[in-house]
Amino acid sequence: MPKIKFLTSDGTEYVVTVQSGTSAMEAAVQNLVPGIDADCGGAAACGTCHVYVDPAWFEKTGPAGSDQEKEMLGFVEHPNATSRLSCQISVTDALDGLVLRLPTGQH
């Protein structure tokens, strides 16, 4: 059961454990981690589950996979080189210990 650490913009840490294969977004939403809104429920259609992958983990997660994810990331506020939509990150055992930082807002 892989663990993920979410760091909110004000520095609060949340560590959650999930079933392998759960999206990072679902991990946050199911565990009431604040700062991921996920309006569309995981369809890469709203851009409100934006996260910054910790640089140490970016090689493992990779950048945005699909054109649709890339597009939506184009419209989030303050994107950076490790931005992803967390609904498109599947947390498997290979990502056990994944660290994600949350932006100040989603919209």
Binding site: D37, A38, D39, C40, G41, A43, A44, A45, C46, G47, T48, Q68, E71, M72, G74, F75, E77, T104, G105, Q106, H107
Partner: protein
């Protein structure tokens, strides 16, 4: 009649004046004769039984003939998301007809005028335009507005009569949304009702009570253009300020807007931020009237405001549809859509799709995942102002809860006769202390 839904045939709580015969016609009419584009259906709140039938029997439905020509209706939630996120095939571009079913709204067809804006553009141009405007409505910027919105909301609510009938639409919904828009644009405050007027004119056609002729519509929109040209000229030569006109004037992308695009962009912001939030401010009151228990839940537990507000936006669905045009022949859910066909995403139907949303006709204040609705659309064109709309609504209800035990709807509402703008023209209410 306290707590009674108005004119609903089976207590489904739509709060409209649909008759039992509307529901019967919807049940019996041959599928191929169904035309959900009739503005009268929306005026009577009689459209839902037709959409229920389509979702069940023909979710991607071709209407051969209508006042707007032939068009496809997409009626189920997930199908709508698929269309909304496939802009490569389903275009919003004004050159192929733009993003509403009625071609005259944004195009020089019949008596209309050309109003290009980024909602009616595809990438790559769309992206540059949207990014230029997006910062003003990002949450960190919205925080700047909260105190002002609250002060105005308090002032408007404190001016309302208690125990006496008045029109919520005019005194509250229009008043608050217009003030917000005037602030965003830094528009002369005392002239702000011009924004309401221009917004209504854009989405009107002659003979529906807003304008008499196409010439009148064009004349008023040209006045709007001239007014904003003056503001533009003032602001382009002044240091940048955090209002939309100044941001547009100082944005390198937007500086090269031709006059049609300039007016079109302003029209987008005026309409997008105007009658939509207005509809939700009125719709929330109707929901509270029909489902008082749901609002009592929120009074008792203010944390529920977080779901109550998105649920108002879902339940009301201020924009009933958005339209796309197929850029190529494509098969969609077993149907053959042809290049050039109009494809209409009926948000008002998708938001009642029981396969995605439980008990969708009901207003449920603590609905889980309350933001999972279609009212703001999805994909690259998703409503930029969505969090600003929610902010205004949240403040409104916080201040209502602090003042009034109940808002009673005391007469038949008058609804907008439009297949696009799903809102109220009049909502007679009486406040209870």
């Amino acid at each position: 009649m306290p707590g009674q839904p108005f004119g609903t045939p089976s207590g489904t709580g739509h709060g409209g004046t649909a008759s039992a015969s509307d529901a019967e016609i919807a049940r019996r009419i041959p599928l191929e004769d169904i035309d959900v584009s009739d503005p009268g259906l929306y005026q009577r709140e009689a459209m839902h039984p037709y959409f229920e039938r389509l979702r069940r029997e023909d979710p991607v439905h071709y209407c051969r003939e209508s006042a707007y020509g032939p068009y496809w209706s997409v009626t189920k939630f997930n199908d709508i998301v698929e269309i909304d996120t496939n802009h490569r095939v389903f275009s919003s571009d004004v050159s192929v007809g733009s993003f509403v079913l009625d071609d005259t709204t944004l195009n020089p067809i019949d008596g209309g005028i050309y109003l290009p804006n980024f909602l009616g553009m595809d990438p790559p141009r769309h992206d540059e335009h949207r990014k230029a405007v997006s910062p003003i409505v990002a949450p960190e910027n919205l925080a700047r507005f909260e105190a002002l919105i609250r002060q105005r909301t308090q002032s408007v609510l404190d001016s309302l009569p208690v125990g006496r009938e008045f029109d919520w639409v005019d005194r509250v919904s229009i008043e608050l949304t217009t003030m917000m828009l005037a602030t965003l644009l830094d528009f002369p405050f005392e002239e702000r009702r011009k924004l309401t007027r221009w917004s209504d004119v854009v989405t009107a056609t002659p003979g529906t009570g807003v304008i008499d002729t196409w010439e009148q519509r064009e004349k008023e929109l040209r006045e709007c253009e001239a007014y904003f040209k003056n503001l533009w000229n003032e602001r382009v030569n002044a240091p940048p300020k955090p209002d939309l006109v100044s941001m547009l004037a100082h944005s390198s992308t937007m500086q090269n807007l031709g006059p049609a695009e300039f007016l079109g962009t302003l029209v987008l912001l005026i309409v997008g931020g105007n009658d939509t939030t207005r509809s939700s401010m009125s719709g929330g009151v109707m929901a509270q009237h029909i489902y008082p228990g749901e609002f009592s839940k929120v009074r008792a537990n203010r944390a529920l405001i977080a779901s109550m507000i998105p649920e108002i936006v879902r339940w009301q669905t201020p924009i009933a549809h958005m339209r796309r045009t197929a850029l190529e022949d494509v098969e969609f859910k077993g149907k053959q859509i042809r290049k050039g066909d109009k494809v209409v995403m009926w948000y008002i139907s998708g938001n009642r799709d029981e396969e995605v949303i439980e008990r969708p006709s009901e207003y449920i204040a603590d609905r889980p995942r309350a933001r999972h609705h279609l009212s703001f659309g999805f994909g690259i064109h998703r409503c930029l102002g969505n969090r600003l709309a929610e902010l205004q609504l949240r403040i409104l209800w916080e201040e209502i809860f602090a003042r009034f035990s109940k808002i009673e709807v005391v007469g038949e509402p008058v609804r907008v006769p439009s297949n696009l703008v799903h809102g109220y023209i009049e909502l007679p209410v009486r406040l209870h202390a």
